[in-house]
Amino acid sequence: MSAPGRYAFFFDSGACSGCKTCQMACKDKNDLGPGILWRKVYEIAGGSWRNEGGLWLPDVYAYNLSMACNHCEDPACLKACPTGAVSRRDDGIVLLDARKCVGCRYCEWSCPYGAPRYDARRGVMTKCDFCADLVAGGGRPACVDACPMRALDFGGLEGLRAKYGGTDSVFPLPAASMTKPALLIRPHRSEGRAGRGRAEIANEEET
């Protein structure tokens, strides 16, 4: 299958139920050990109580963000890696060659999306490779195929933009100008409140 420009992920935050099937499908396909998640589902939660005519009502919100490596146009991990283990293909897929990795974890520090993950068993970093083998054979990344809510999609960045619209920067992601991620997100309706308020990642320990 020829690359439709730069590959990207699309994620519909409003459609995601937080079931983590994408996370598990990724772990299964890539045979990832305990503690290693190339795709993570973050639960963003916030809110408080609201006084309405003397009655205290719960006023809370929560939404999910399913995030993997965003195969950035300007990858911080590539610039950080001292061994040249990280490379970027013409189709935008950013790959990490664990055979060259020294295990310094500097890519982990530099990535604002927390995408590279350390494999303590082998002493090297690992990360999402966009299921490059499946994509090369005309297939789809395992996470996209597994999502029961059809909240995830992939394809060429411009094609996805034309199909879904969306944005590449929602709370609590960093400014997209930092690394220019190949990512489009349809924000959850509470995303604006989360950005303005004191929302937090409720499952930080898990991710």
Binding site: A76, A80, P82, G84, A85, V102, C104, P112, G114, G123
Partner: protein
């Protein structure tokens, strides 16, 4: 701070101390001309700097998950500050080994010694600048500040100057006082005090999470924990006590440089600043918090 960061704390401190001490002690000895009585001290001090840099390099291996690939770390000099840091560590060490061998064998002319020592000094400063840039990551707002570069340089300069003065004082004390080529290093002591005052002011005002001036910062941890604040207070107290210990030295002038009290104060000041800079580095790593995920 994660336990796995300890090798990096010690690595950065040792490398900065090594470079700073070279700039403050062996380099002025070489540049000040031929002084036969200083030769043994020059060789000992160069060996000391080399031992510190070698220890720093060796300790950095404890941070690696796959040290067998360490030889690949020069593979991205074009883009990675970490590659450049390792390159300048190797270059500085190599130049210092050359300098030591030339001095030891008396094979080099004075011009060669001066050229090599200036090259080693420049490589050493480049090492510290590269080291600071390794930490100036956009994804970690508390580190991505000019204060990181400034504080790494200050660690080298202050501990180098104080280390030089402390070594001179220690030599005088161990010899029971009297004049040596290293007695009365008043300019170095004054420089140490000036640098210390500058460091203290900068930490007080501009430390990314503890400084009084907080304008223009990007999102960082809004309020450090009470335990971290206490450690920061201890750090400031150590810097202040070192500055206070240096003042009598400056006021006493060179005629009192052989006083054992003054010499003990000098060694005490070095120890206090070493403890303070170690605390500062621990606090620096403790502020690790990423913007984004």
């Amino acid at each position: 701070m994660a336990a796995r960061e300890w090798p990096l704390v010690v690595f950065t401190l040792l490398a900065q101390i090594g470079v700073g001490f070279f700039l403050a002690f062996p380099l002025p000895l070489i540049l000040s001309g031929d002084r036969p009585e200083a030769r043994s001290m020059l060789l000992i001090s160069l060996a000391g700097v080399l031992a510190v840099l070698a220890a720093a390099g060796a300790l950095s291996f404890f941070h690696l998950g796959n040290p067998l690939n360490a030889y690949r770390t020069l593979g991205n000099l074009r883009e990675s500050w970490l590659s450049r840091e390792i390159f300048f560590l190797l270059l500085t060490t190599g130049l210092l080994v050359g300098l030591f061998v030339l001095e030891w064998t008396r094979a080099g002319s004075r011009t060669a010694l001066v050229a090599l020592s200036v090259a080693a000094a420049l490589a050493g400063v480049a090492l510290i600048l590269s080291m600071a840039n390794v930490y100036r990551l956009e994804a970690i707002p508390a580190w991505d500040s000019p204060m990181t570069t400034f504080s790494f340089l200050m660690t080298a300069f202050v501990l180098g100057a104080l280390g030089s003065a402390a070594v001179s004082a220690f030599k005088l004390l161990s010899e029971g006082g009297g004049a040596t080529p290293f007695a009365g290093r008043l300019p170095m002591n004054a420089a140490a005090l000036a640098l210390l005052a500058l460091d203290l002011t900068a930490v007080l005002l501009f430390d990314p999470n503890f400084g009084l001036v907080r304008n223009g910062q990007r999102r960082v941890d809004p309020r450090p924990s009470r335990a971290l604040m206490r450690l920061h207070g201890l750090r400031m107290a150590l810097l202040l006590s070192a500055a206070a210990a240096l003042v009598p030295m400056i006021l006493a002038g060179s005629h009192l440089a052989s006083s054992s009290l003054i010499q003990s104060l000098m060694i005490g000041a070095f120890v206090a600043v070493l403890a303070s800079e170690t605390l500062g580095r621990v606090l620096f790593y403790a502020l690790f918090r990423k913007e984004g995920l």
